[in-house]
C-alpha cells in the first residue's frame, strides 16, 4: 500500500487531490458561468476574504471553539454521572431517564432564545446550548455501554466475591468505554451546532456571529470563510477524540492493529 503508484491513486485518490480538483472545477465554473459573487463566490475570492483579515477570523473561531469544548466537556462529565445514576438506580431510571428521553424528542434549537433570556448574550447561553444538545448522545450511549455486560461476567464476578465498586471500576467502566467514545464523537459535532445556534440568536462574537454579520452585508465570501473554518474545526475535534480513543481502548475490535 505504501507505493503510491498512479494506478493506486486512480483507485483511491488521496483526500487533498480530491479537494483540489473540486476547488479547480468550482473556480473554472464560476469563471465560465459568472454567477453574482453574493450568490456563489469563487474559491479565490473566498481565499482573499480570509487573507484580508485573518486575525478577526482567528479570534472569532477561538470563541466558538472554546464555548464548544466547554459545553462538550460539561456534557461528558455530567452525562456520564447521570448515566451511572440511571444504571444503578431504578428511581433515577424512572425519573431522569424518562425525562431526558422526553426532552430529547423536542427540537432543542427552539430553546435557544429562552437561554438568551435566562443567561444573557455572553458565553453561558452558548455553553448551555452546546451542553443541552450534546448531553443526550452521552447519556444514551453511556447507559448502553454500562448496561451491556454478559450475564456470565456478572456471575463470574459474583463467584469471585467482587464488591460492586470493583465490578464497576474493573469491568463495567472499561466495558462501557467503546460506547462512551461513540457517544462523544456524536456529541462533539452536536456541541458545535449548539454553540452556533446560540450565536445565531444573539452574540457579538464567534463564527456564527460573523456569518450573520457578513450575510447582512451581502458579503458572501466571508460567510463561506466562516463555514470553511467551522468544518475544519469540527473535523479537528472529531479527530482529536479519535486520537484519544485510540490511546484509551487499543483493545477494542474497532482499534485493533495486528501486533505482529
Amino acid at each position: 500500500m505504501k507505493k503510491a503508484s498512479f494506478a493506486g491513486w486512480l483507485q483511491q485518490p488521496p483526500v487533498w487531490l480530491v479537494l483540489t480538483c473540486l476547488l479547480v472545477i468550482w473556480q473554472l465554473a464560476t469563471w465560465l458561468f459568472k454567477p453574482p459573487v453574493f450568490i456563489l463566490p469563487d474559491p479565490i475570492s473566498i481565499g482573499r476574504a480570509l487573507v484580508d483579515s485573518p486575525y478577526a477570523y482567528l479570534i472569532n473561531a477561538y470563541y466558538t471553539a472554546a464555548n464548544t469544548l466547554v459545553g462538550f466537556s460539561l456534557s461528558v462529565v455530567i452525562g456520564f454521572a447521570l448515566a451511572l445514576g440511571i444504571v444503578y438506580s431504578r428511581f433515577l431510571e424512572a425519573t431522569i431517564y424518562t425525562t431526558l428521553v422526553a426532552i430529547n424528542s423536542m427540537p432543542k434549537v427552539a430553546l435557544a432564545p429562552l437561554f438568551v433570556v435566562w443567561m444573557g448574550t455572553g458565553h453561558s447561553s452558548k455553553i448551555a446550548m452546546a451542553f443541552l444538545i450534546a448531553i443526550f448522545a452521552i447519556v444514551i450511549d453511556a447507559v448502553l455501554g454500562l448496561r451491556s455486560l454478559d450475564n456470565e461476567i456478572v456471575d463470574l464476578s459474583r463467584s469471585m466475591r467482587a464488591s460492586p465498586l470493583k465490578l464497576l471500576w474493573k469491568i463495567r467502566l472499561p466495558n462501557a468505554l467503546p460506547s462512551l467514545f461513540a457517544g462523544m464523537k456524536v456529541a462533539i459535532g452536536l456541541s458545535l451546532v449548539g454553540v452556533l445556534v446560540g450565536e445565531f440568536v444573539s452574540a457579538q462574537k464567534g463564527l456564527g456571529y460573523l456569518i450573520l454579520a457578513a450575510q447582512g452585508a451581502f458579503d458572501t465570501p466571508r460567510v463561506f470563510v466562516s463555514i470553511l473554518l467551522l468544518s475544519v474545526m469540527g473535523t479537528l475535534f472529531f479527530r482529536l477524540i479519535e486520537l484519544i480513543e485510540r490511546r484509551a481502548i487499543p483493545w477494542h475490535v474497532s482499534q485493533r492493529v495486528a501486533s505482529h
Partner: protein, 271 residues
C-alpha cells in the same frame, strides 16, 4: 488436602451436600419446575459430572451450589456450612470464556486476586505457573483476541484456579470448542485435577466426556429437572483417550444412553 486413596474412608461429612432441593421459576405460562427432589452428596476432591438434556436443571444446580441463586426448598451446604451467596474458595468456568479484552492473559488470570484483595506478588508466580502448565508461557502479555478458542478457555480455567479454590464449578466449559481441542482439554483438565485434587462439578451434554473425566456421572432428566441415576465410573487414572474404545466404556455409555432415552431424549431417533 487429602491423600488420593483414603479420601472416601475417613470422611463422614461430604464436601457438598444437596438435600431434597427444589427450584421453580415463575414464567408467564405458570411456574416452571427446574429442579425437583434433588439430593446429592459430593466428596472432597471428587470429579462429578452433571449430564442431561437442555432444561434438566444441571446448570441451575450448579448455580445453586455456587450460591448465585437460591433454592425454592431444600438445603445445600458446603463443608458443613449452608450455602448463602458465593462461598470462599470457589472457581467457575463457563462455556463462554468471558475474558476481558482490555487485559492481557496474565492480567485476566490475576482478576480474582484483585477482586479478593489478595497479595498480588504472592499469586503472580502461581498465575504464571498455571499458564505454563497449560502451555501458555509465551502468551502472558498477549490479549485474549490474539488467542485461539482452546487457548482462551485454558486461560479461563487458569483464572478459576489462581486463588487455589477447593471447589471448581464448570458449566459446559468445552461446549464451544472443536472435537479435537475438546479432547486435548479433557486430558489437561484431568492432569490439573490429579495434581491439585479440587472438587470439580462439571456440567456437560456429552456422554463420553462425562464418562472419560468423572468419578461419578449424575444422569439427569428434564421436565421436571431431576436426577435419575448417579453412575460410578471405575477406570484407573490417568485415563487416556483410548479408554473410550474399551468394552467397559461402551457399557457405561450404553447405560447412560438408555437412561436418557427412557426419559425422552433421542425421541426423534426412535420413531
Amino acid at each position: 488436602m487429602t491423600d488420593g486413596g483414603g479420601r472416601m474412608a475417613g470422611e463422614t461429612d461430604p464436601h457438598i451436600r444437596v438435600h431434597n432441593v427444589t427450584k421453580s421459576y415463575e414464567s408467564p405460562s405458570g411456574d416452571v419446575l427446574a429442579l425437583t427432589g434433588v439430593s446429592l452428596d459430593i466428596n472432597n476432591g471428587e470429579f462429578i459430572s452433571l449430564l442431561g438434556p437442555s432444561g434438566c436443571g444441571k446448570s441451575t444446580l450448579l448455580k445453586l451450589v455456587a450460591g448465585l441463586d437460591t433454592a425454592t426448598s431444600g438445603t445445600l451446604s458446603l463443608a458443613g456450612q449452608p450455602i448463602s451467596g458465593p462461598p470462599f474458595g470457589l472457581g467457575m468456568v463457563f462455556q463462554k470464556d468471558v475474558l476481558l479484552d482490555w487485559r492481557t492473559v496474565l492480567q485476566n488470570v490475576m482478576l480474582p486476586v484483585e477482586f479478593q484483595d489478595l497479595n498480588k506478588a504472592e499469586y503472580l508466580d502461581r498465575a504464571k505457573q498455571l499458564l505454563k502448565l497449560f502451555g501458555l508461557a509465551d502468551f502472558l502479555d498477549k490479549h485474549p483476541w490474539e488467542l485461539s478458542g482452546g487457548m482462551r478457555q485454558r486461560v479461563a480455567i487458569a483464572r478459576a484456579l489462581v486463588t487455589n479454590p477447593s471447589l471448581l464449578l464448570m458449566d459446559e466449559p468445552f461446549g464451544a470448542l472443536d472435537a479435537l481441542t475438546r479432547d486435548e482439554l479433557n486430558l489437561e483438565l484431568q492432569d490439573i485435577w490429579m495434581r491439585y485434587r479440587k472438587t470439580i462439578m462439571f456440567v456437560t451434554h456429552s456422554i463420553s466426556e462425562a464418562i472419560l473425566l468423572s468419578d461419578r456421572v449424575c444422569i439427569m432428566a428434564a421436565r421436571p429437572g431431576r436426577i435419575m441415576e448417579v453412575m460410578a465410573v471405575e477406570f484407573p487414572r490417568p485415563r487416556t483417550l483410548a479408554v473410550r474404545e474399551s468394552a467397559e466404556f461402551s457399557a457405561y455409555t450404553r447405560r447412560a444412553r438408555q437412561l436418557l432415552e427412557g426419559s425422552g431424549v433421542f425421541q426423534h431417533e426412535k420413531s
